[in-house]
Symmetry: C2
């Protein structure tokens, strides 16, 4: 399959397709036309056909897409057909929220352990996931085949922790710390910089205001 | 100023420049060369010069960029020179985390009120921000010049709440609900779809694995 030739732009849209196909699957919908999907997702039918044609002929004229097949093909491409084991570093409010999302498990992401520096939390659990001292993190990663670390601690502390966990084999970091992590090329990092996101919203608001004002003149 | 001609790609990089310039400002750095900034930010110096040249001549050969000036110019472009008033809908763990970020205030984003459907929370506060019944949301928006609503409730509930708040004048939504909101063109929406982000991480991991395996062959 031509996975390697799929463009970054298409890849970036795949999670959204996957989300909509998952909803259709939950509703027991077996097939869907590009036109129907286009109305649901608010993108053009031709964009959908172009995007999904990358995965080789799941759409047929007059038949539409086989929801189940397309869903599992996209899962494959996104690497969701294997199970991922996660740890969380930082049991603050954001960490608690992330540890509480059962939906991640539906997609094969299992939170196995939580680490914090607050001794008061040791031995406690969030949704049956134990909270442990940060000193045990290396052993835990090695003994539990952890592949993803979720970083929810202040920027000042995260660089050091990330060094430690990368040194013991972590290959992926989901980073909520407000800092850009400097890791080697074989480690994948996905940043969720919330204040950058808020600034993008602010920019979008300002653009709309500016357009309105220039219309008013 | 040629703000309107700045490309989307440059705009999307502005929050990051703003973040680094803010750190330099905090450290009382007055000027910085594109080379130094390039090392800090791990992008090429020529990219930095190209990006920042959009804002008209703040860089000078042999002098570098005036940190303060560039910082406030980017703030202007991003719409950060005006104050924004926010409300939060949903006081769960994620909502609590967002209400707790004092850093947003440094950038002019002030959380004014929190709304929830749990009567047990009414009258309580998070960082001096009152939690109120959702029925009071319309009046609160009108009386407190609220421009941004932060949506942290389950997908099933968010569509209806968003309809109500848009009807009473909200112009921007920071959406953490796992659903794409259908609003009119004059409302700005910035989505933070966490599971989409996790899938992008999974894809990045898989690509690296595939590359390693194909090297191994």
């Amino acid at each position: 399959m031509g996975e390697k030739e799929i463009s970054q732009a298409v890849i970036s849209r795949l999670p959204r397709y996957y989300r909509y196909l998952g909803m259709l699957k939950d509703k027991k919908v077996e097939r869907i036309s590009s036109r129907e999907l286009s109305q649901m997702m608010n993108v053009t039918a031709s964009q959908i056909r172009q995007d999904l044609n990358n995965f080789g002929g799941f759409g047929h004229q007059g038949y539409g897409y086989n929801v189940e097949l397309l869903y599992s093909e996209i899962a494959n491409i996104l690497g969701l057909s294997r199970q991922h084991n996660l740890i969380l570093v930082g049991a603050g409010n954001l960490g608690k929220a992330l540890a509480g999302y059962v939906n991640f498990e539906r997609r094969g992401f299992y939170m196995r352990g939580i680490f914090d520096i607050d001794p008061f939390l040791y031995g406690k659990k969030i949704r049956d996931i134990p909270i442990m001292p940060i000193d045990e993190i290396e052993d835990f990663i090695k003994n539990n085949e952890i592949d993803i670390a979720v970083i929810c601690i202040p920027a000042t502390a995260s660089t050091k922790v990330v060094e430690r966990i990368v040194a013991c084999g972590i290959k992926a970091i989901w980073n909520f710390s407000h800092v850009d992590l400097d890791v080697s090329d074989d480690v994948s990092v996905e940043n969720v910089h919330l204040s950058d996101s808020l600034m993008r919203l602010s920019y979008a608001m300002k653009s709309k205001r500016d357009r309105q004002e220039s219309k008013g003149n």
